[in-house]
């Protein structure tokens, strides 16, 4: 056996204490839903994990009512200091149950345990820690003295970072004094349901956070509910558009965090080996299921061949397989539907004339899998240079000058993120100035921190999550 094959190093599932069936978490307890229950499966082998309730319109009504009651009677009357204490408790409990949460996340989402353990869950704890500290300091947030909460926030989150997206939504909302009704994605409800147990352990007053599982209809019911003051959505630009239309004319405040087609710009003076790592991390981290993924490599023409060569070599040590194996780098695609979309767009890429190359990975028989793939000879007019694929597929384009790189990078309706690789500080800062993107990484990629605002320009949405700016979305009087 080759050393590089590495013997299996499975993370144990014994740390989990899952139920066979989960109800909706409303008003501090689990109760049955009146919609049609559905199964959540492991995308790695399509095995059944648990049965999950679906919230009907009536259930959503009950959840919003619970949130409203909790807001009126408890949460809006509580001092910031005490709200902060609850958030600190939640942060600590997430740290204590970190392993359990990481395993649940990898099992349900398909992402490697290495990522959920080292990135997702620590960031979840950090997000709650950070916003816990704001709860009693809102006067200092820069939005005037004594800023008020909006009321009840309806939040719909995606399947790519299930628990982290929940933290991004719940932590600032609660810190600012709002109560919450949140819907996890249909294919990834598990970590949110374990999180509900943490809320019980923290003794959070009932109704402050309500977790209602379900599919698109449940999300629509939340968004349209007349007693929701604030809507926050992370997901596809298509759905984001629909939500924006739905809240038009209502007093509801809205923030959206949508798709992207980020350019990762590599100049000829880039620190090459670290740039390769950054490209790989940019598009293959989390199987490319990242809104801010560096899905377009814009490489200076003079170093194109060398970079592509090194990339391919680097991809040969990426390991695709069981998400619960500690050595897995590339996990499963989250659903059959998503896999189909990735395959379809890849086929289009080939038809358009780009050259396709995939890493040589052993693909398991069951489950949803796609090997890391690179398309070279991609042109700006190709669909695979414009459409968000949301999978481990990199499109490689070239440029000659910094001005051309900027032009190509900006030539997209999206504007979420970008990467710049160069050894020259003045160039990095000047290029950053001109990129129409909400998050710009220089000589790094996919870095997140609760103190650092994240969000998009243009069709990537509006509003910021993280940092002082992240409070804006949840306070009255602050322009959202």
């Amino acid at each position: 056996m080759s050393f590089l094959e590495y013997a299996p190093a499975p993370e144990s599932r014994s740390v989990l204490h899952l139920r066979d069936e989960y109800g909706l978490f409303i008003d501090g307890e689990f109760r049955p839903g009146s919609g049609e229950s559905f199964a959540t499966i492991s995308p790695a082998d399509e095995s059944h994990i648990a049965t999950v309730a679906a919230a009907s319109d009536a259930d959503v009504d009950a959840a919003v009512a619970a949130a409203r009651r909790a807001y009126d009677r408890t949460w809006s009357r509580m001092s910031g200091r005490d709200r902060g204490k609850y958030l600190f408790r939640i942060a600590r409990l997430v740290q204590e149950r970190a392993r359990e949460l990481a395993v649940a996340e990898s099992l349900d989402n398909g992402k490697p345990i290495k990522e959920s353990r080292d990135v997702d869950v620590p960031l979840v704890a950090a997000w709650f820690f950070y916003y816990a500290g704001w709860a009693d300091k809102l006067d200092h947030a820069g939005y005037g003295a004594n800023p008020r909460a909006l009321g009840v926030a309806g939040q719909v989150i995606p399947w790519n970072f299930p628990l982290l997206m929940l933290a991004w939504k719940v932590a600032p909302a609660l810190a600012a004094g709002n109560t919450v009704v949140i819907k996890p994605a249909e294919t990834t409800p598990l970590s949110a349901l374990v999180f509900a147990e943490i809320l019980q352990q923290a003794d959070l007053p009932p109704g402050v956070v309500n977790i209602v599982t379900g599919a698109g209809a449940t999300g629509a019911a939340i968004v349209r509910h007349p007693d929701v003051d604030k809507v926050a959505f992370t997901g596809s630009t298509g759905v984001g558009r629909e939500i924006a239309k739905a809240v038009a004319g209502t007093p509801k405040k809205l923030t959206l965090e949508l798709g992207g087609k980020a350019a990762n710009i590599v100049f000829e003076d880039a620190p090459i080996d670290q740039a390769i790592e950054g490209i790989v991390n940019g598009i293959f981290f989390n199987q490319g299921h990242v809104c801010c993924a560096g899905s377009r490599l814009l490489v200076q023409e003079s170093i194109h061949d060398d970079v592509v060569d090194r990339l391919k070599t680097r991809l040969s040590t990426l390991r695709l397989g069981d998400p619960l194996d500690k050595n897995t780098d590339i996990g499963a695609i989250n659903s059959a539907e998503q896999l189909q979309r990735i395959r379809e767009l890849s086929r289009i890429g080939e038809d358009e004339g780009a050259e396709r190359w995939s890493a040589d990975c052993a693909i398991p028989d069951k489950g949803f899998w796609f090997p890391p793939t690179i398309f070279t000879n991609v042109q700006a007019s190709h669909r695979i240079a414009r459409d968000e694929i949301f999978g481990p597929v990199l499109s490689v384009l070239t440029f000659r000058t910094p001005a051309e790189a900027i032009e190509k990078a900006n030539n997209t309706p999206y504007g979420l993120s970008a990467g710049i690789w160069s050894d020259k500080g003045s160039r990095i800062l000047a290029v950053a100035d001109r990129l129409r993107a909400g998050v710009i990484w220089a000589n790094t990629f996919n870095r997140f921190d609760p103190s650092s605002p994240f969000g998009g320009y243009k069709e990537s949405g509006y509003g910021r999550e993280g940092g002082r700016h992240g409070l804006l979305a949840y306070l009255k009087g602050a322009a959202a």
């Binding site: 200091r81 902060g84 204490k85 600190f88 950090a126 820690f129 950070y130 816990a132 500290g133 704001w134 709860a135 009693d136 300091k137 200092h140 947030a141 820069g142 910094p402 001005a403 900027i406 500080g425 003045s426 160039r427 800062l429 000047a430 290029v431 100035d433 001109r434 609760p450 103190s451 940092g467 002082r468």
Partner: protein
Amino acid sequence: MSKRLSVPKTYKLFVGGAFLRSESGRTYEVVSRKGEFLANAALASRKDARDAVKAAAGAVKGWSGATAYNRGQVLYRVAEVLEGRRAQFIDEISRQTGASATAAAAEVDEAIDRWVWYAGWCDKFAQVSGGANPVAGPYFDISVPEPTGVVAVVAPQDTALLGIVSAIAPALVAGNTVVVIASQPHPLSAISLAEVLATSDLPAGVVNVLTGSPAELAPWLASHPDVHALDLVGAGDLDWIDLQIAAAETLTRVLPPEQGPDAAAPSLQRITAFTEIKTVWHTKSLV
């Protein structure tokens, strides 16, 4: 049936993460409001003060070099441990100051909550105090608050716990290290607080607690060149103007005394008072 014989605690100085007697060997009697003997506290000497400054100076790099998140985590941990020792602190305060159990409990609770408030500032005060500057030229220009270094503190003398907590927590937020002279009449809670700090992941030397006479010790700290800031919040009854003059010799930043129940009230200003703003310019050019 005989009453159980107690095992009285020894109260030493807390310097460099260790509990030490004064190098002078001196102690003084700590008595209750009614004059009953409570304990012998160490009477710190100028050499103890010098050693404390050395320990604090040595700890600056590590503490200021930690991430803000990490500092916040450590300070929150201090609050957790303090909470766990609530009953002990209530009892100790009552014995020293004669406060009722209710009043003592209120003081301890406020001290813990105030500490939590400061812990939560670590990873966010820079966002309020610093920022990008829109200079008129092709430059990236940013201002960030940095810790000033070693902060010497004369803690409020009238309270056993709330005063010292209110005085040292803000200095720690930004990454400073501290040498604090505790309340002379009520020093015991300060040393118990040091026990909490010693068991809360706070690196050795970040906080150093001296018990004894502020009148004797403060002048040495004021004139020490490795002390970068001097908080005289509890020095109202001393010749504090002389201290300020001594501190001026090395341009030490000085905060004047405060009196009354509002002394050392929690504020963002208490944090930023112990920071230096650093502004960095970087050229920007495409060509």
